[in-house]
């Protein structure tokens, strides 16, 4: 991926004004970065609020392991800035298309293959600047590793689909790029693969990604030369000679599994859950915790199949985007969500209905 040259620019004040105007007119806004995540969430009405021009690295201190960037910054550009210093985003976010912005990625709460082993997007967010529904630019959290002053609004913004505010700036913890990576492949049936991934996760092994598809289990190891070599010997299987392409293809949904017209479901379940009997094609990641399903089955059937597992299901791509694509909430939780929406965006300006029909 090449980093598109987007000029650094601060249009925060302009964004605030637009929001204030919209709030006074009660006119909904559709917050938009590069529009690469239009497929995700529910359909939403409103005038587009384009944040892509609000871009650029505001501060980067490699020895602090912290970077602060404006939300319109392209993910690819951010990654190359970090790579120059031997660092990376620890949650390995997917972009799903060229031009993806950091703001959109954080708002969707997307994390990639490394997630169960080093953390999710929310785990790396240290601070944010956010425009609330009154058009006020607010700052929460900060640029330090530990900070418990005030409620953790920064993490609340991650995955809120822009329904609580416009994220304009994000400070994130970053990680050193591991000295060495290796991928191994092992053939086995699904039950065994799930057991195996969880058995490994219970041991101190430097695993950084796992994926099961088509009776093949792939496992990526990351760490020091010696650490990876020792783990390779312990795990066995065959060396995949992978230069990262496989993991990129899974992360970006360019793997052949995803080339399929049927709706795509994401099932998030306890990692050791037994395989589902549900009809469809499966690709299992995250040590068993994230399972992709291609199926025409009804939402009720898909959600019913995991009702007892303690997990939840998202209609990730395709299907009926006016239905509840995210797992419906219990009535008390929904009420808390509505109250929070009111607290941040009383005029319901932002991304109406994008997450749940109610707000």
């Amino acid at each position: 991926m090449t980093a598109a040259a987007i000029p650094d620019k601060d249009i925060g004040e302009q964004l605030c004004q637009t929001v204030r105007q919209a709030a006074s007119e009660g006119a909904p806004l559709r917050i938009q970065g590069a529009d690469t995540k239009a497929f995700y969430g529910r359909d939403s009405e409103g005038v587009v609020l384009d944040v892509t021009a609000h871009a650029g690295v505001v501060g980067y201190e490699p020895s602090e392991l912290v970077i602060t960037v404006r939300a319109g910054t392209r993910l690819a550009q951010l990654e190359s800035v970090l790579a120059d210093k031997g660092q990376m985003l620890g949650f390995e976010p997917p972009g799903y298309a060229d031009g993806a912005t950091l703001g959109g990625t954080v708002a969707c709460g997307f994390s990639g293959p490394r997630r169960p082993y080093s953390g999710a997007a929310r785990d790396f967010v240290l601070g944010t600047r956010v425009i609330n529904g009154r058009g006020e630019l607010l700052r929460f959290g900060g640029e330090v590793m530990k900070n418990v002053a005030g409620y953790d609004v920064s993490r609340l913004m991650v995955g809120a689909m822009g329904t609580l505010g416009v994220i304009t700036e994000v400070s994130m913890k970053v990680l050193p790029v591991p000295a060495r990576e290796a991928t191994l492949t092992l053939s086995m049936p699904v039950e065994q693969a799930i057991r195996q991934m969880n058995a490994w996760a219970g041991q101190p092994l430097p695993i950084s990604a796992t994926c099961f598809h088509d009776d093949t289990l792939r496992v990526r190891l990351s760490g020091s030369e010696k650490g990876v070599a020792a783990a390779v010997a312990k795990i066995g299987g065959e060396a995949a000679g992978d230069n990262g392409d496989f993991w990129r293809s899974v992360r970006e949904h360019r793997h052949p599994f995803f080339e399929d017209e049927r709706p795509l479901w994401r099932l998030s379940v306890p990692q050791g859950s037994p395989p589902s009997m549900l009809d469809g094609d499966w690709l299992i990641e995250w040590g068993g915790g994230q399972r992709w399903l291609k199926t025409e089955a009804a939402a009720k059937t898909v959600r019913g199949s995991i009702a007892d597992s303690g997990g939840h299901a998202t209609l990730f791509r395709g299907g009926d985007r006016s239905s509840e694509v995210f797992q419906p909430l219990t009535s008390r939780l929904l009420e808390l969500h509505r109250n929070l929406k009111n607290a941040f965006d009383p005029e319901r300006v932002f991304n109406r209905g994008r997450m749940y029909r109610d707000f």
Binding site: P62, S63, E64, G109, R115, P116, G119, R122, D123, N132, E136, L138, F140, G142, V144, M145, K146, N147, V148, A149, G150, Y151, D152, V153, R155, L156, V158, G159, L164, L175, P176, N198, A201, G202, P204, P206, S224, K226, G227, A229, A230, A231, S268, P270, Q271, G272, W286, G289, G310, G311, H312, F326, L329, L333, H337, N339, L340, N342, A343, F344
Partner: protein, 497 residues
């Protein structure tokens, strides 16, 4: 030291009797405390300079009882303060004169351990260390390990987003929990988070973590368990000056190694602990660093070599690697006992908790020493250097008139310095009542207003731990009148008192 009035006023006594009687309809007699001598042990948390007797203490031992207490208190509009083990250092569990203190001490059971999914479901009153002890034989542990881990409760850890010696690599409480059961202010039970790696809707799990008992009562926690590292080695390095030690911290991180733990102690701290636990510290050094490297034996071997080189290049005057597990534990025992050790060299000590960018460690420590001298107070430093989380311990004598006040003023100044260099007023101990004024320095009025609106979403009548964590704007106006920040008056539109 300021003490609560010893006697009950008559009006309050009448309320006390009415509420105690009503609550005994749901709770056993002995689970409602209403006698002065019974209430006394609850008058403060770990910040003992602040004390207040609660109206009542309740000690429920079922979730239904907690729900009944909350329903009753919501109806009667009686405020409620939750309390875990009471080790908090910011007055978060300080009782309210007109409020019920809800102790979760009886919720001390580990409910379920799931080794396949590597989780444990526990009640909030379970001690932090008890979780690791329960799974240790199976090769697992619960990572966040505050120095108070033998005493503090996991519920209190969630409420404060507690950190520990190994958080640089393994994360804070927020990174190590999956699910909560929470009783709302009006007595409903809600599940927040899930048994999988994420949950639908807003990240209320993150929001509850560190919310200091202001949003709900946590009655059950599902924590993640990690496999114990195969190998862990500890390096102890001495430095002839504090700035050099501070810089070495950044140098280690810059190599691309994330140590399992990276702690620093200055000379006053090492002397105090050495006298106390004989951990073998270099008491002539201006500062020592404790750097733990963990992972597979192969990784650790590599990392030890690399870090040793870095430390030598950073100018350490002496360097020792713990020769075995016993010595490693010994080196750590001093660090863990540093607070009580400070208690032995001074009648009282006051622990500050700011976080700063690592590169500022040297500068800030130097400034803190200068400021201490200006106030005529000794300051010992022992802290989570890898995270930039400072814990200056101001040594004072509460029996000397004015010393506590001077100490608090110095503490406030140190926190403001943390904000000035790009940090925060609290890394892990919370705001509570203690740092409430400094919140006015760290946040703008609009941000504080947003916090209040957020609280309203959970607790419209302000019954959960009211008055803590987030200051009112008028309080900030009052405080701002005394502290003009960077030449600007921060709350100009508000009336001064």
């Amino acid at each position: 030291m300021s003490r609560a009035a010893e006697t009950f006023t008559t009006g309050k006594q009448a309320d006390r009797e009415v509420h105690a009687k009503a609550l005994r309809a749901w709770l056993p007699r002995h689970a409602v405390l209403d006698q002065v001598e019974e209430l006394r042990p609850y008058e403060c948390d770990g910040l003992s300079a602040y004390r207040k007797l609660p109206l009542l203490v309740v000690l429920p031992d079922t979730v239904e009882q907690v729900q009944a207490v909350m329903r009753y208190c919501a109806r009667e509009e009686v405020p409620v303060v939750a309390r875990g083990a009471g080790t908090g250092l910011s007055g978060g569990a300080l009782p309210l004169e007109h409020g019920v203190l809800l102790s979760l001490a009886k919720f001390n059971r580990i409910l379920d351990i799931d080794l396949v999914n590597r989780t444990a479901r526990v009640q909030p009153g379970v001690r932090n260390l008890a979780i690791s002890e329960a799974v240790s034989a199976s090769g697992f542990y619960y990572a966040p390990d505050p120095s108070s881990q033998i005493a503090c409760s996991i519920g209190g850890n969630v409420a404060e987003n507690a950190g520990g010696l190994h958080c640089l690599k393994y994360g804070l409480t927020v990174h190590n929990i999956l699910k909560l059961q929470v009783v709302t202010v009006d007595g409903d039970l809600v599940t927040i988070g899930s048994d999988s790696l994420d949950a639908p809707g807003y990240d209320l799990l993150a929001l509850m973590t560190g919310s200091e008992g202001m949003l709900g009562i946590i009655v059950e926690i599902t924590v993640r368990l990690l496999p114990k590292p195969e190998s862990a080695k500890l390096i102890m390095a001495s430095f002839a000056d504090v700035e050099k030690a501070g810089d070495a911290v950044g140098d280690i991180i810059a190599t691309g190694i994330i140590p399992g733990g990276l702690e620093m102690m200055d000379n006053m701290a090492t002397r105090a602990t050495e006298d106390f636990v004989h951990a073998g510290y270099d008491v002539d050094a201006a500062a020592i660093l404790l750097c733990e490297l963990d992972g597979t034996p192969e990784e650790v071997e590599d990392d030890i070599l690399r870090v040793t080189k870095v430390l030598q290049r950073s100018g350490c005057t002496d360097l020792r690697i713990a020769k075995d597990e016993q010595e490693r534990q010994l080196f750590w025992s001093g660090r863990k006992a540093a607070f009580p050790a400070a208690g032995r060299i001074s009648p009282d000590y006051y622990c500050i908790d700011g976080t700063i960018p690592r590169k500022q460690i040297g500068y800030v420590l130097t400034r803190v020493a200068e400021m201490g001298a200006e106030y005529g107070l000794r300051v010992a430093n022992v802290f989570h250097a890898g995270d930039g989380n400072l814990h200056p311990l101001i040594l004072y004598d509460g029996n000397q008139p004015g010393e506590l006040e001077r100490t608090e003023e110095l503490g406030g100044k140190i926190l403001e310095l943390c904000v000035e260099v790009g940090g925060t007023i609290t890394g892990e101990h919370g705001v509570g009542v203690e740092k409430i004024d400094q919140m006015c320095v760290q946040f703008q009025p609009e941000e504080l207003t947003q916090f209040h609106a957020l609280k309203q979403a959970f607790d419209p009548k302000q019954l959960l731990n009211p008055g803590k964590a987030v200051p009112t704007l008028s309080r900030c106006a009052e405080f701002g009148a005394m502290h003009v920040h960077k030449g600007e008056l921060k709350f100009p539109h508000l009336e001064r008192f």
